[in-house]
Amino acid sequence: MTEPHPVGLSIRGGVKVYPGTRALKGVDFDLRMGAVNVLVGENGAGKSTLMKVIAGVEALTAGQISMNGQPVQIASKSDAVALGIGIVFQELNLFPNMTVAENIFIAREPLRLGFDIDARAQSDAARALMRRLEHDIDPDTPLGTLRIGQQQIVEIAKALAQNARILILDEPTSALSASEVEVLFRVIADLKAQGVGIVYISHRLEELIRIGDYITVLRDGTITGARAMEGVDIPWIVRAMIGEGSKEFPRTEAPRFGAEVFRAEDVCLPRLGGGFTVDHLSLSVREGEILGLYGLMGAGRTEFLECVMAQHPHATGRYFIAGQPLTERDVAGRIARGLALIPEDRKRDGLVQIMSIRENITLSALSRFARLFHLNLDLRAEAASALDFVKRLTIKIASPDNPVSSLSGGNQQKVVIGKALMTDPKILLMDEPSRGIDIGAKAEVFRTMRRLAAEGLGILFVTSDLDEVLALSDRILVMADGRLTGEFPSGAAPADVIAAATRHKLKDHAA
């Protein structure tokens, strides 16, 4: 008796340790051939790490990978390709300056005489792949001119061109329109029939239930559920995803909300190629309130905060701080009016890595220590003030003069928070405040947020972590496709919030 879907690849006791965090804690994973294996879990649960291990991008710290019963070593991307494993990353790995065909065959160009690129063979093969994917994309167009959805198709074609027996799709539909999703599903069914084992990662639960054959749920680096898809429903997935005993960050006292401190009206950010990344969004925050803005990848949350912080010159909309219109068009002006942003990407946006901890904390509020026409810095006052914030936020450091890059993620995040607080903000905008920090530091960051709110600060935080938004917010707004799709009081049911965030696109943005 043979199983309908033999196990093609399996991981036993997979452990992956990064400096500071354990991303995978002893994972047992079976990948079945000729079937769609869906993988679900919150951001940071370890899905991407697991897939990177299979695709040879990262190596396991401990544990064993075997294929068809034989132990294998997947030490590099090329090992994985040789074993027939293809992966389509969430972030596209394409070259916008090259043509579609060149992208598909990058580093594997068909050659004549060993050095002359056979451009015609390359184009023909690319055209055949595009036909198979039911897309009318000319292989000779430069990739940069394609829409994101089409680029995703090219990425899939690239994996197919390598004759992958195992194909990993990491959130392939996040950038696709509804009709493109249908095409992708047909391609997946076709591949399945050919015996290809597919791993499918997505946040869209309805989608998973529709096309999945087997489901694996990850939470905090461990597998909390793995079974065949029959009988799986959304509540089961949500339970496995966030657990029964939700991590709590209880409020110590009842919240006292003051007057409205921040209001955004009709904020719009046009998207290249039509449509809106932020679509006529309005919201308001009161003093002492923690407003959680929940949404999946690509919902436009980060872009909304960037609009507020004057990062998109093409954005339109009106903002009010404590009822007064915000007319300043540059970041410095907006900071002076009481806005402060804690960006999502600490490394890229939040910190100057090579500067010291002290210099980072005081960077936004430096003029406070300046005398004589902002020329002479009072270094002693600066050091004292930096130290004061280090104490208040319980940042663990050896010396404020060490470079900020030597700190752990959680302490770096507190430095960013310190920098924002030093400007005496009226409203704090936080983009994924717990990204890339461990559980302990997370709890401390959340306690800090609660304390700040209790002191009367308005906090607007954006997250794609359901647990977090449920536990922390006084009020929850849900965003999808650039629009608000739901508003919930604190203590809302997780399934409702997810449903609002995954609401099907009303409009098809396909060209």
Partner: protein, 351 residues
């Protein structure tokens, strides 16, 4: 928070100190070597001569250091030197027709002011090209390198302005003093270097402007999101660099009492070399004015010392190149060591 002394071995500690002071160590080494190998090298008279040579490059390098700290580069300084020397020469020799019926002769102070403005203006053009039109600094300043050099040539039709001795009738008799005069037994150039060095050091260490310059070079996006006015900072550094170059042009015209349109060719490369030798990172965010000045001295002493030893100038060029590369290699080593030490410190208290 209490400062917890982290355990680190004395050897790493010592290594780090030596590496941090490497430019200084290099300076002492070249000084020691030449005072042994070249007789008369360590005399006071020679020290003044060498310092005069070094001062010009050091002045340019000070401006260059700020530019490089912001992550940019200024290739136009050599041409600005030439242009400013020519403008100074022209103003000494010619009256300016202001279009109000009669011409005006400017006196020394006015000439110095106008020349400084020319340098600042070219710097402003660089800055505007880079901030408003988003031209890469390398390209923008390469363009102004050619433009300023061409302008210098056009000003005299390629000829030299000779005999800039000044004329008491027009108030320019003091012109030669700028480059050739002495104050308290030291040449004016050295006072100029001391003055500019102190000002630049003060800006870099004790002002918001200085801190913002480092922030822009360390992480431009992050700095902008923290409210740093990135464009203004960039405008300043290019204008400051232009100002430094103008001073050098003025000094050279006055020293030689003549100005030639080719003045300052390849000066920009020496200035970059001094900054890099002094520990300025080409990727931005790191560098010290003191280090740059010491770096300029190392290059200058190396050059003059080798001449006194009678080494061929061809070999001098090779040796200069080797020293610059060695400096950057050591710089990388220091960075790695420093990062490791800081990580160990933080890890020690993270437990």
């Amino acid at each position: 928070m209490t400062a917890i002394p982290a355990p680190r071995s004395d050897r790493t500690n010592l290594m780090l100190v030596v590496l941090q002071l490497r430019t200084f160590v290099a300076l002492i080494l070249v000084l020691g070597f030449f005072s042994y190998a070249a007789p008369n090298f360590l005399s006071a008279a020679n020290a003044v001569i060498v310092s005069k040579h070094v001062a010009l490059n050091a002045l340019l390098a000070i401006g260059m250091t700020f530019v490089i700290i912001t992550g940019g580069i200024d290739l136009s300084v050599g041409s600005i030197v030439g242009l400013c020397a020519m403008v100074a020469g022209w103003l000494v020799l010619n009256p300016v027709d202001l279009g109000i019926g009669y011409s005006v002769w400017f006196d020394t102070a006015e000439i110095a002011g106008l020349v400084a403005l020319v340098g600042i203006a070219v710097g402003l053009v660089n800055g505007l090209l880079i901030t408003r039109l988003a031209v890469a600094p390398f390209i923008a300043t390469l363009g102004t390198l050619y433009i300023a050099r061409g302008a210098a040539l056009l000003l005299s039709g390629g000829r030299t302005f000779p005999n800039l001795t000044g004329d008491a009738e027009y108030g320019t008799q003091g012109f030669p003093f700028i480059g050739a005069g002495n104050l308290l037994a030291l040449p004016m150039v050295i006072w100029l270097l001391v003055g500019m060095g102190l000002v630049a050091h003060y800006i870099s260490r004790r002002t918001t402007l200085g801190r913002h310059i480092y922030a822009v070079g360390g992480n431009e996006r992050g700095a902008a999101l923290s409210g740093v006015k990135v464009n203004r900072i960039k405008l300043f550094v290019y204008m400051f660099s232009g100002f430094c170059a103008a001073l050098v042009g003025l000094v050279i015209a006055s020293q030689l009492q003549a100005s030639h349109p080719a003045t300052g060719e390849t000066f920009e490369l020496n200035a970059i070399a001094a900054a890099v030798l002094g520990g300025t990172s080409m990727s931005g965010g790191r560098g010290r004015i003191g280090g740059t000045i010491v770096g300029a001295f190392v290059i200058g002493i190396l050059g003059d010392g080798l001449i006194m030893m009678g080494v061929s100038s061809f070999w001098q060029t090779v040796i200069k190149g080797l020293v610059i590369i060695a400096a950057v290699v050591i710089d990388q080593a220091q960075n790695r060591l420093q990062t490791r030490v800081a990580l160990q410190q933080e890890a020690a208290i993270g437990k």
